[in-house]
């Protein structure tokens, strides 16, 4: 099916919504509380990649968002109708977010008692203190959407889960149970090229990652826990996760497929005011359960992770944020000893810095932002400049870029060098 076949329908729908507000249909729309946006965007690679199209992004989407708030329960339904010219596979895959429809949220929220909330269904989940860095947030991310220039909200992929929150006097307890593992929407080569260690080079559509999916209900399940408490102006939290590495970082030599090894994560965070800004500290322990000794070359070792962040408003609508992030590989000598010959070796410590600058101009209608990831140990970087202008209350025009680079082909950001791209987008919200 021609992906643009849907476009006239989407445009028609998008066209009807705003117009109807001023007509007799406004009453009906108010009752069902239907909102959303129509968003169209395009991007191209700034370098050529023989295994990929030069077009990195060419898509339109209509998001419809409906909320029903009753006395006993709240229902939320939000989904995107998509016409995507770059994606080859048109069939709907709600887990990977492929096809002409992506369900973002479909959930029911109830409060069985005064001290408890229960949210059941497809939902977006986030916690932790990092800015575009995640230590204790093991909820699914869509790295592909993030790297090709979709709106940043698409970095968070939906979870199919039950979230129970308890509110005793002394804090908040959140328990999230995901009966069937929700992996990240990871980079697999069909759209963005990645480093393939088996081939010893970057690969794209010529060598799409082959992955052993985990999708057994109640066997491949995940449990996420958080206990949080405010102490004065400080927010403290403890985290736990029982599940799997979110990207297929393991490898099964028998089937020659990538796997999702088992993983537990334990962590803590603190956030609060410091010297006229906001500081945050987050720690986590990644317990790689399938390779506790660190001797298995096909399963990642355990890691300790640390994040320090600080953000400050410099006045005149200018905000600056900096973060330092450390990934420390545990059992490093075991890792080195078991590393197969010819495989690129990672460092014991991966250091990463981020910088965020945000400036608002023209009565806050123009937002200029810049986000940079820089790793001195990997000698690679990822830059995200973006400009966004609100033409009217409904129309927004934006443009930006995703620049990757590095000295080596195998490092986290260096492997994406040929995916560097620029994009522009126009959105109508209603």
């Amino acid at each position: 099916m021609n992906p643009w076949g849907l476009l006239p329908v989407l445009l028609l729908l998008a066209g009807l919504m705003p117009g109807s507000v001023s007509t007799a249909r406004a009453g009906l729309l108010d009752d069902v509380d239907l909102h959303g946006f129509f968003d169209t965007r395009a991007g191209i690679r700034t370098t050529s990649d023989v295994t990929q199209r030069q077009t990195s992004l060419l898509e339109s989407r209509l998001q419809l968002d409906s909320l029903y708030q009753g006395d006993a329960l709240t229902l939320q339904l939000r989904g995107d109708f998509i016409a995507d010219d770059v994606e080859q596979d048109r069939s709907i895959d709600l887990e990977q977010g492929r096809g002409w429809f992506d369900l973002r949220e479909a959930n029911l929220l109830v409060s069985p008692t005064d001290w408890m909330d229960l949210k059941v269904g497809r939902q977006i989940l986030t916690w932790g203190t990092g800015d575009l860095l995640f230590l204790n947030d093991l909820f699914p991310k869509d790295w592909q959407a993030f790297f090709i220039g979709r709106d940043v909200e698409y970095l968070k992929a939906p979870s199919d889960a039950v979230m129970a929150s308890f509110f005793p006097e002394w804090g908040t307890i959140d328990v999230v149970y995901t009966p069937s593992f929700d992996a990240d929407r990871y980079i697999r080569g069909e759209r963005l090229s990645y480093y393939n260690p088996l081939l010893g080079r970057t690969a794209g559509r010529d060598a799409v990652a082959r992955v052993d999916e985990r999708n057994g209900w109640f066997s491949d399940d995940e449990l996420s826990l958080r206990f949080s408490r405010n102490i004065g102006s400080f927010e403290t939290a403890l985290y736990g996760y029982l599940g799997y590495w979110k990207s297929p970082v393991g490898f099964d030599p028998g089937s020659a497929r990538n796997t999702f090894p088992r993983l537990n994560v334990w962590g803590a965070s603190l956030r609060g005011p410091l010297a006229e800004g906001i500081a945050n500290l987050e720690l986590s322990w990644y317990d790689s359960r399938d390779d506790r000794g660190g001797n298995d070359p096909f399963v990642p070792n355990s890691e300790q992770r640390l994040l320090l962040g600080y953000e400050r408003d410099l006045g005149h609508d200018l905000t600056v944020g900096v973060q330092y992030y450390l990934e420390h590989l545990v059992d490093y000598s075991a890792y080195r000893n078991s590393l197969p010959a010819g495989m690129p070796e990672r460092d014991e410590n991966r250091h990463l810095f981020t910088l965020r600058l945000t400036k608002l101009l023209l009565n806050q209608n123009l937002t200029l932002s810049f986000f940079a990831y820089l790793s001195p140990s990997d000698r690679d970087f990822y830059l995200r400049p973006k400009a966004s202008y609100k033409l009217t209350d409904n129309w927004r025009l934006s443009g930006g870029a995703n620049f990757f680079g590095g000295s080596d082909d195998h490092t986290f950001f260096g492997q994406f060098e040929n995916n560097s791209n620029v994009y522009a987008a126009l959105r109508y919200s209603f």
Binding site: H35, F37, L67, Q69, T74, L109, S111, D117, Q123, I124, L125, T126, T129, V152, E153, L155, K156, S165, F167, T172, S228, N230, S233, E235, R271, P273, E276, G277, I278, N280, E311, R312, D313, G315, H316, D317, T319, T358, L360, N363, Q364, N365, T367, K390, T392, D393, N394, R396, R427, S429, F430
Partner: protein, 258 residues
């Protein structure tokens, strides 16, 4: 977006009528009338921003306010329009004499973002109102001087103790004797020019509290103005402090979504 902030309350200003007070007493009374009416309050706000070329932008939001210990307050602001900020919420724990704690709830990311304390004299949500106009300016930050008294108004001149911390050199406030409400404020820049005016256009008495239901802020140099209209104002609705927490950012209360 981050300043989608407190907005607030030029509303909720009750009144006390007293006699022969000092400038500091008048200002304290006006502050109380303007920002602390009742134990709590709620309002719907429709904001219209007029630019110098005839263009307009609109914002709509609900506000909940709770007076807590001392002079501190908590605010919950829930955005309804424009559509790209719909369902975003802004939570403020105001600490008099210190930095406020502020969070922005981004529903599409399900993210509670902590916002660094900012310059309170920058635009609130892109309007001609400043964050400080709507959350209140610390009384101790200015020297207050009674410059004029008429039958129904006091006129107070306010000079900042730390001139480098603000963009004005001084400002003058007209306070209505009957209601104690500040009804007009005019700001002069470092060159001595009148450049900014905030005024109460309509006042109604709601549950015994004289309340500004229409307020205007003008940037006289840029030629822009913003009108705030308050409706469904209610006081003493019995808001609980727990409403001003992450739980109710995730699950906006009916008080704001209705």
């Amino acid at each position: 977006m981050k300043r989608y902030g407190i907005l607030v309350l030029l509303l909720l200003w009750p009144a006390l009528a007293l006699a022969a007070p000092s400038a500091d007493e008048i200002v304290a009374r006006a502050n109380k009338a303007a920002y602390y009416a009742g134990k709590d309050g709620q309002a719907e706000v429709k904001m219209t921003i007029y630019d110098a070329h005839g263009g307009t932008r609109r914002r709509e939001f609900s506000i909940l306010r709770l007076n807590v210990a001392g002079e501190d307050q908590k605010f919950y602001v829930y955005f309804k329009k424009p559509s790209d900020v719909r369902k975003m919420a802004f939570l403020v724990w105001k600490h008099v004499g210190g930095d406020d704690d502020r969070w922005l709830w981004l529903p599409a990311l399900n993210l509670k973002k902590r916002i660094a304390p900012g310059d309170k004299r920058t635009s609130f949500v892109g309007s001609d109102f400043f964050y400080e106009d709507v959350s209140g300016r610390g009384l101790e930050e200015d020297v207050h001087q009674l410059v004029k008294e008429t039958d129904d108004q006091w006129v107070i001149k306010n000079t900042p103790r730390d001139p480098d911390s603000v963009e004005f050199s001084w400002y003058q406030v007209w306070i209505d004797k009957a209601t104690s409400l500040p009804v007009k404020a005019e700001y002069y820049d470092k060159e001595g020019r009148l450049y900014r005016r905030v005024s109460a256009e309509k006042i109604e008495t709601i549950q015994g509290h004289p309340t500004v239901v229409e307020a205007v802020a003008e940037d006289l140099l840029a030629g822009t103005r913003t009108v705030n209209r308050f409706s469904k104002v209610k006081y003493d609705i019995g808001l609980k402090e727990r409403l001003f927490t992450e739980r109710f950012l995730r699950r906006p209360p009916r008080e704001v979504t209705r």
